[in-house]
């Protein structure tokens, strides 16, 4: 009874080939992150970043292909669950979005990326850092931040060279992100002649780290590295101090948040973290972004700036292609050279950020203070090579 229901590549619908008749064209951008569950705060933060970008674009009033474009954000919740991730991905494809921003977690980004690839819809993640994401050979997959390998390396180098630590202990939270980062950190430490005295583990819902920290204490490492999120990192720092560990604490982007300081209290003082890209205040438009965001949504949690950049990159590619059709503007994304608020964004062949810069920070007076940037061409021209090392 039914005819062929061949799945149309979701492309043409959004701008149904109506060049001049319709003065306005709606561009649907999908955004996916966990909005419920333990990581909901980060998900919302990402969504807000995307919203800010969309609002700005709309306020500016872009014109593409002769029509005024209005961006519309379709925000979905994947609960950090891979299965839900694919369902909402499909929902976005069905809704014929012109592009997708997200997902937040590598775990959901990976399976979903296949669905976007099949539908030919470009995807830019502002937070999925698992290297695999861009290595699957999908032309549609991009990310605007350094992946775990790059960041782990920078962190290892920093520990060995800047902190001059010979011995480290490594903890990770057994998530794709935490484990990946910790493994790369370990490699880098070893490569730099350091020693890993202990490798301990927790999980992304834990609050009690006394046992592993006590064990680490007995090994007396100079640095304790944690691959994981702020919600564990904060209490961990606090317990580290109260157990009397003398080691300094170092963590990646997941813990590089004001939240960590809030949760750790006084114990946070002097600890380190890294963040892909370059500090906001050093970037053109960065401080502005920060102010705007804070005014509208409150404190930045973590990846909002990257997500903001992702949207901007996508819009930029559309502009250059002079089309909002995925098939048309997708090639342009690969050629991006965009000055974002987090760094200068240029993609390599896989869709990874070229020369992703990593910046390091330390808590001083209850705030993250910028220390230095490792890697990335952009580091040089954006940030003054500040002499304020440790």
């Amino acid at each position: 009874a039914c005819g062929d229901k061949k799945e149309e590549p979701a492309a043409q619908a959004a701008a149904p080939a109506t060049p001049a008749a319709q003065p306005e064209v709606t561009v649907k951008l999908g955004h996916i992150a966990p909005l419920t569950g333990p990581q909901a705060h980060l998900g919302k933060d990402n969504e807000n970043g995307a919203r800010l970008a969309v609002d700005e674009l709309n306020a500016k009033g872009l014109e593409i292909g002769g029509a005024k474009v209005k961006f519309e954000l379709l925000a979905e919740d994947d609960q950090a669950d891979p299965k839900q991730g694919t369902i909402v991905a499909q929902k976005l494809v069905d809704a014929k979005v012109n592009g997708v921003i997200g997902h937040l977690n590598s775990g959901t980004t990976l399976p979903a990326s296949k669905i976007y690839a099949d539908a030919g819809i470009p995807q830019i993640s502002g937070s999925a850092t698992n290297p695999k994401y861009t290595q699957q050979g999908f032309a549609t997959a991009f990310r605007v931040m350094a992946n775990d390998v790059q960041q782990g390396h920078a962190l290892g180098e920093f520990a060995a060279q800047a902190i001059k630590a010979k011995t480290v202990a490594i903890i990770d939270d057994r998530t794709a992100y935490g484990q990946g980062l910790a493994d790369e950190f370990e490699k880098a430490v070893l490569a730099n002649g350091g020693k890993v005295l202990a490798r301990e583990f927790t999980n992304d819902k834990a609050t009690d780290f006394a046992a592993i920290l006590t064990k680490i204490k007995s090994k007396k490492p100079e640095v304790v590295f944690y691959g994981g999120m702020d919600s564990q990192g904060g209490p961990m720092v606090k317990q580290l101090k109260s157990l009397g560990l003398k080691s300094v604490f170092l963590t990646g982007d997941g813990g590089c948040t004001p939240e960590l300081i809030k949760l750790a209290g006084a114990a946070a003082e002097g600890q380190y973290c890294s963040l892909p890209g370059v500090p906001l205040e050093k970037m053109a438009g960065g401080k502005e972004f920060g102010d705007k965001f804070t005014a509208k949504y409150g404190q930045i949690q973590l990846y909002a700036p990257y997500v903001y950049d992702s949207v901007m990159v996508m819009a930029d590619a559309m502009k250059r292609a002079n089309s909002v059709e995925p098939a048309k503007y997708l090639p342009e994304i690969g050629k991006t050279e965009y000055q974002g608020v987090t760094s200068k964004i240029v993609f390599d062949g896989n869709g990874d950020l070229k020369n992703g810069a990593i910046s390091l920070y330390q808590v001083k007076d209850g705030k993250w203070e910028y220390l230095q940037t490792i890697g990335g061409d952009t580091a040089a021209d954006a940030a003054a090579p500040a002499g304020d090392k440790k």
Partner: protein, 307 residues
């Protein structure tokens, strides 16, 4: 050696926290034979309410203890009311329903409370203001904070109080009678609805205390915190023998010790093959072993099953 002692202390503190929560579980289970899946969520609400009040007062200049008590004073009625409402809405209509029906409503309640809390308190993690003295004490080279000592003491006191209540008072007897045979208990003149409500209210009061202690100890609270805590506490209650009050305490402490020593020594025990990521495996393994040899938990009474 001091490392070992520190691990034992870590285990005791963690275990007491589990015990605090497990007491509430066991109490309700003992009377209703019902896994109150939402108990962890009540703990979370206790933590959230206490934290909210305490945050508002943290600059008031009042002594920390006083602020904490005010926080608890606010959390208690909210939790008790929540517990009361949960029983009324989700469990009471299902008293005579198939056994798993209330388990499902409990899961439903748990989801509802979590998301309500998310709407009220937002998605962010909340930091507990540092109002309580975190003075560290040295015992045999190991450290423990005053708050942690308080947690251990309070858990023990609450257990003792509950045992007294259940074993020695008339209300306690009515609770046990209701637990064993509700219709017959009614024949004795026990208003079982009232007894069950009271049980929930008391259990929820315990949850409020637990919520405050947990969030103060880890200085963190989040709308999702109840789930894992509840799960661990439930495990502890079963380990001890669910329905048994002393068992909940014992199970809690034991689980705490197992986790702590497991995380600390599992690597050495297995020649480095397994690490602290198998801490929970280790804990569940011990649990399974205990239950294989003592199918009703460590101190759970053997059901007087006569063929």
């Amino acid at each position: 050696m001091d490392i070992f002692i520190q691990q034992v202390i870590n285990g005791l503190v963690l275990g007491s926290i589990y015990a605090l929560v497990a007491l509430g579980y066991t109490m309700v289970y003992g009377i209703m034979g019902l896994i109150n899946f939402a108990h962890g969520e009540v703990v979370m609400i206790g933590a959230m309410v206490a934290l909210t009040v305490i945050s508002m007062l943290s600059d008031s200049g009042l002594p920390g203890i006083v602020i904490a008590l005010i926080g608890l004073g606010a959390a208690l009625p909210v939790c008790m009311g929540t517990g009361f409402a949960i029983e009324r809405i989700a469990y009471r209509p299902l008293r005579r329903a198939p056994k798993l029906a209330p388990l499902i409503t409990a899961i439903g309640v748990s989801i509802v409370l979590q998301n309500l809390a998310m709407l009220i308190w937002g998605r962010n993690y909340h930091a507990f203001p540092p109002i309580l003295p975190t003075s560290e004490h040295e015992i045999f080279g190991a450290t423990i904070t005053g708050l942690q000592i308080a947690i251990i003491v309070i858990a023990a006191l609450m257990m003792a109080g509950l045992i007294l209540l259940v074993q020695r008072t008339k209300l306690g007897r009515a609770m046990r009678a209701t637990a064993e045979n509700p219709p017959i208990a009614q024949l004795m003149g026990v208003d079982i609805n009232r007894v069950i409500s009271l049980t929930f209210v008391i259990g929820s009061a315990l949850a409020a205390v637990a919520g405050l202690m947990v969030s103060a100890n880890y200085s963190i609270a989040h709308y999702y915190m109840g789930f894992i805590l509840g799960l661990k506490a439930f495990t502890a209650a079963v380990l001890g023998g669910i329905g048994n009050i002393a068992g909940a305490m014992l199970g809690g402490i034991l689980l705490g010790l197992i986790e702590s020593l497991g995380a600390g020594y599992i690597g050495d025990l297995t020649g480095g093959f397994l690490g602290s990521h198998y801490q929970d495996v280790f804990a569940f393994f011990v649990l399974i072993c205990v239950l294989v040899f003592r199918p009703s938990g460590l101190v759970g009474e053997k059901v007087a099953e006569r063929a």
